[in-house]
């Protein structure tokens, strides 16, 4: 075959693939635009695996309202532009009934207007409070807000009699957003932020920043908003420099992997996290226990990896949608949306969810537990 014929054939195959991908089928489609690769893969990968395994489980039990679910996952690599393109594709080509996704806030903010305009429910898996404040009719979210994380940490600080803190945050969206919330909430909580430093999410050494914090007089505790590997390195550097002040991490580290990577340095570190991380240590009377133990077992069995709260948020999103669809008795988008908004006493991995027309998150501060790392494992702080 000549060169130009080969190219023409390749082009034809390419176009055919695109067209074929858009064929509608009798199944109900659930869309998911996740950051499976790229800087947020720490969040997106567990989310994808969770959605896949639980959609399979739902289908194995006969589906919802007698129909099987088809999960359509696109990877936006944490690029808001790609997310928006995939959102258009989900709405126009795949004609999804709803979407559980938007790993990062940037991607969610880029996609939200499309779902609002198309009137399709969107359950976001991103952290920032702007997603649900102001409340948008078709947009919901399952992860705790970063504002709640700050409030939880500040509450614990007050209990320990500490009021002056230093912040060291990642310059990624997660770290920055939580840092902004902590700064906003601090005065009301009676906390003074004496010093701030930041680091790039892929940086390998934070000792200069921590040295500056160590040298600042009056600091009683340090908070590290961030996710991924950064907090593990911060924690190690913290101990290397011999800083003994209490260190608080954020819910962005929420996986056993953090403890493995930070090693012995992680002892004594506290963080707000969902009950999912301490599933086996919950008292039997805790309403979340069955759900989190079940999810932990399934996830670890199917992937061989430790459970993470990010996957848990995806689980919550999927189940909230599934139960709303069951209550609505159909996949009519408006009916499902109404039912999602009426979610009451839904027990998820993140907490007990009670949504309302003015609250599209449905979690309160009690959904966060304060954990402390002791001897290489999570423990509940009473």
């Amino acid at each position: 075959m000549t060169l130009s014929t080969r190219l023409a054939a390749a082009l034809a195959v390419g176009l055919a693939t695109v067209v074929a991908a858009g064929e509608t089928s009798a199944q109900v489609k659930l869309g998911a635009v996740l950051s499976v690769t790229g800087p947020a893969s720490f969040l997106g990968d567990p989310e994808k695996r969770t959605l896949e395994m639980y959609v399979d489980e739902i289908n194995a039990k006969g589906g919802i309202n007698g129909q099987k679910l088809q999960l359509v996952v696109y990877d936006d690599s944490a690029d808001a532009n790609a997310a928006r393109t995939f959102a258009t594709r989900l709405i126009e080509e795949d004609k999804v009934a709803a979407m559980v996704g938007g790993t990062t806030t940037g991607a969610t903010m880029a996609m939200m207007p499309l779902f609002e305009e198309a009137q399709i429910p969107l359950i976001s898996l991103a952290g920032a409070i702007q997603i649900v404040e102001p409340v948008r009719k078709w947009v919901f979210k399952t992860p705790h807000t970063d504002k709640m994380a700050c409030e939880k940490i500040f509450g614990d600080l007050k209990q320990r009699g500490l009021t002056t803190v230093a912040l060291i945050s990642g310059t990624d969206a997660f770290g920055k957003s939580m840092r902004d919330q902590c700064v906003a909430v601090a005065p009301k909580a009676g906390i003074t932020i004496a010093h701030e430093e930041s680091y790039g999410p892929r940086d390998s050494d934070m000792t200069p920043q921590l040295t500056n914090i160590k040298g600042k007089a009056g600091v009683q505790a340090v908070i590290n908003p961030g996710f991924g590997q950064g907090p593990a390195i911060v924690t190690r550097n913290y101990r290397q420099l011999g800083i003994t002040l209490p260190l608080y991490q954020s819910h962005g580290v929420a996986s056993k992997q953090f403890i493995d990577l930070a090693g012995a340095a992680a002892d004594g570190v506290r963080l707000p996290a969902a009950a999912l991380l301490v599933a086996d240590k919950l008292p039997d009377s805790d309403p979340q226990k069955p759900v989190v133990v079940g999810y932990t077992r399934t996830y670890q069995q199917k992937t061989g990896q430790p459970v993470s709260t990010f996957g848990g948020h995806a689980y919550d999103g999927l189940m909230i949608f599934a139960e709303a669809a069951k209550r609505a008795g159909s996949f009519d988008k408006a009916k499902v949306r109404d039912e999602i908004e009426k979610t009451k006493n839904f027990i998820g991995t993140g907490g007990v969810v009670n949504m309302s027309p003015t609250d599209h998150l449905g979690l309160d501060l009690s959904a966060f537990r304060m954990l402390e790392i002791k001897g290489g494992d999570w423990t509940l702080v009473q």
């Binding site: 693939t17 532009n81 790609a82 393109t85 903010m109």
Partner: protein
């Protein structure tokens, strides 16, 4: 007939004809959107092509100028009350000014040193966009108010298709004009051998700076359209990966070829969409395609194919 095909605008008219007819094949708004993105990146690529293909200066930070244009149409209406179209113009002017100021010292460097300097420049801009959250919304970005034409908001993927297509065609026509002009010939001479060109009386420094500024304006215009089209902008519009993407579009499509910029942009925008079916193997295949195109179509897609056609005709 010959006069028609050899006319300076023949290529642009041919592309315009294809663009006018293409929507007949679009089943949904998704295709309009992908096409609009192709045109936006093609516009930036045309500008970069003038710099790299015509004048032979490598820039690894060009997405920085896209960022200037993008944030101009975001910040202007949101923080300063300046209407979108005026912000578009101001963004282009800012990009031109930045290119002028930074270009003088940077263009004295050669080869890989020039590449690293432009890389650093692009990174600097990206860092500023990420950190100055009060203006830019930080890493999560900010929303871009809709473009208002005669008071009516521009919406709809098909409307944007026509707007971005028009933008690209205008840019392409102007680029073709430049290539065929004395300045264009001077730049080609500089590309071939800067010393020889200078010996012949070409003011190399001034010409290089001029094309640097022009390419910056192209990128800024593309960035503004990109921001308006998406309604939301994040700092990775000006990131390192975006810059590399632009360079790849230019090189894959064919350096020095305006049509090549369109083909390169189409390849790198459409290919990831078609590869989603491969899930985990998406990136591997993307990397293989990039390598294969570069190995087998060494001069870029359009020049190699044009050369093959010409050889057959001869």
């Amino acid at each position: 007939m010959r006069a028609l095909t050899e006319h300076r605008l023949a290529g642009v008219l041919a592309m315009a004809a294809i663009i006018a007819v293409l929507p007949l094949f679009f089943p949904s708004a998704y295709y309009y959107r992908v096409a609009a993105l192709v045109f936006v990146f093609a516009l930036a690529a045309v500008g970069l092509n003038l710099l790299m293909g015509l004048a032979g200066q490598v820039s690894l930070g060009h997405a920085g100028f896209m960022g200037i244009g993008a944030y101009a149409v975001a910040i202007g209406p949101t923080h300063l009350g300046v209407p979108s179209w005026l912000s578009f113009v101001i963004g282009a002017a800012l990009a031109a000014l930045t290119a002028f100021v930074v270009g003088r010292p940077i263009l004295r460097l050669k080869g890989h040193y020039l590449a690293v300097a432009t890389l650093g420049f692009g990174l600097l801009l990206a860092i500023v966009f990420t950190n100055e959250a009060r203006w830019t919304g930080g890493p999560d970005g900010m929303s871009v108010p809709r473009l208002l034409v005669f008071g009516l908001p521009v919406r709809g993927a098909d409307t944007w298709y026509w707007i971005t297509a028009a933008g690209f065609l205008i840019g392409a026509a102007l680029a073709n004009n430049l290539i065929d002009s004395p300045t264009g010939r001077a730049l080609a001479a500089i590309h071939d051998s800067e010393v020889a060109a200078r010996v012949l009386g070409v003011d190399a420094a001034r010409k290089k700076l001029a094309v640097f500024v022009i390419s910056a304006v192209y990128a800024s215009a593309a960035g503004s359209l990109f921001a308006l089209l998406n309604g939301h902008i994040t700092p990775d519009v000006s990131g390192f990966l975006r810059s590399i993407e632009l360079v790849a579009m230019v090189v894959l499509g064919g350096m020095g070829s305006v049509a090549g910029s369109l083909v390169g942009a189409a390849l790198l925008v459409v290919l990831p969409q078609t590869l989603t079916a491969l899930h985990d193997y998406e990136h591997m295949v993307l990397g293989l395609v990039v390598m294969a195109v570069m190995i087998f179509l060494r001069a870029g897609i359009v020049p190699t194919l044009a050369g093959a056609l010409a050889a057959r005709r001869a």
